[in-house]
Symmetry: C2
Subunit: 329 residues, 2 copies
Amino acid sequence: MVDVARAAGVSHQTVSRVLNGHPSVAPATKARVYGAIEELGYRRNPAARALVTRRSHVIGVVSFGTTLYGPASTLFGIEQAASRAGYFVSVASLEAIDRQHVREAVARLSEQSVDGVVVIAPQQEAVDALSEVPAELPVVVVEGGEGAGRSLVCVDQAAGAALVTRHLLEQGAPTVWHVAGPVDWLEAQARTTGWRRELEDGGAKVPEPLHGDWSPASGYACGQVLAERADVRAVFVANDQMALGVLRAFHERGVRVPGDVLVAGFDDVPEAAYFTPPLTTIRQDFTAVGHRSIDLLLGQIDHGDQESRMEVVPPELVVRQSTIGQPRH
Amino acid sequence: MVDVARAAGVSHQTVSRVLNGHPSVAPATKARVYGAIEELGYRRNPAARALVTRRSHVIGVVSFGTTLYGPASTLFGIEQAASRAGYFVSVASLEAIDRQHVREAVARLSEQSVDGVVVIAPQQEAVDALSEVPAELPVVVVEGGEGAGRSLVCVDQAAGAALVTRHLLEQGAPTVWHVAGPVDWLEAQARTTGWRRELEDGGAKVPEPLHGDWSPASGYACGQVLAERADVRAVFVANDQMALGVLRAFHERGVRVPGDVLVAGFDDVPEAAYFTPPLTTIRQDFTAVGHRSIDLLLGQIDHGDQESRMEVVPPELVVRQSTIGQPRH
DNA sequence: GTAAGGATTGTTAGCGCTAACAATTGCCTC
DNA sequence: GAGGCAATTGTTAGCGCTAACAATCCTTAC
């Protein structure tokens, strides 16, 4: 910086002022400084900046299952939004999701002195772990539950489940069976809740839900069970990957979809439109989730917003062949 | 740090020595310092450290298509390996892959003064863009091509393609058709090369490859074309997503897999085992790719390794139902 | 003509840490 | 017991930047 200052014939402080957009710098000086910066290829040192401003311009993301479509997409959305706001994103991937790992990840990030953290916390335990995080660290929770006194951004899972359940009922199914996700996942819980409420509202009997672990293999296992039952006419599977497993099991047992049973998923992974048959599902706008979480986080960082807000992103029903047509009588 | 020093009755420099594992510190002193650190909940300031050591302990990852299975898995592997080595990972996702964007991403990261960069560069253009990156910045290229004078980690795509092609020939197919990826992708090129070479080695005729864009939709389009031809007995599709599209098109046209045509993919996405039929494919060890790229990068950062190395991770053939059994005669 | 006030620039101090050197202590050798 | 060496600890000087205050110059008002 002193080299630039010398080249431009000013003090290093004036260079700093130019770089920080300070209002009272003469246009001519500003031009000279920019010229010198250009000429010398100068970049200011973020460590020195961070040291004195106490702002690293880095936000941390604690994420889990980043190889899955949903979290990967959310991470991408967060990164986009952050980079547009001039922030960097530092990632801490969790190998397992429990108090211990979440705490460690947040600790790791705050040792790096991030300005704030977005926690992708799909399990209650992860949300609980946040109570141990210092309250002065700006935190936004994504896809988690309430209760941590933190701002929250999520897709309305229950509404999505209700949408798809209603759609199945409207297609003529007497009731809708459900292959749920792991019981400790909040998203799984919310989808089950939405499904149950919609059935009750529609006066349909509520069958006992089956439980998978999000994997195609577990969906396949549940599909085998459902294929045995003669009274299954429609199934709402809690994610597209498990739905694929269900479709596979049905196919092997000779259960036709949508001829014999209607099947719907959740997520709208890119493959869903090319399953056999193409899968009706719920689309989630992960980009919006990423952007809103950054908005909330920057609100806390820059303007000291204290109150915890909640942003709910609406889901969208995507109807494909797997739920079209009347089920058998 | 001075507070800790005072609490432990030593100088701040001794605290620094303890924290940095300096050899000559008396055990008793070390214990007292750790005690004071614990008691005060002290964490050292990374910005100050970075300022004086000129090491940020952050490595940057330039990545593209992070919502795809391969890149997402690679990113995850990189993050794991880096965090074990005490480094943080800062991500810069590209919206498009061209010289401009790659250059900007690297510039963004180096303004953050990362210690090194891993570039996931699946296109030649991205590799070329690296020639403009200062040679003193440690860089490792993943899944890219040679020529940038940079260290390289990749899965042996050509070997994988050869494996799967040979397998299809061994199943009795007279030749193997190919749905390739985008021509400007290095991985697509290598897979095509491996496929062609294996056919030539086996004395089979080499059909004109079709080209998709990795998406299920493009695979579907190619599948429609292939379904029209009576002489297609086996198809090697350059990734699993497109293979799904091909399977879908075949299914719609009444082409049975594997009864009429054998189909194989590449990647072994978690869904592949549950496609209809389960898909023969090539598994890539993305975790190994991530770990090795960090190894190479840290070699450059810590030991000043200059020579550009190349690490090739071998792929693995996973045989499933889609290629089992004789094709029709 | 002069004081007040704004615009612009410079000077100084320190953010929290580590590197380099200096100082102190204890122990061993002869 | 003096000298020498190693082990341990302390002192000092920045790393590159921004905040706060100080200084200068130019207007404008009376």
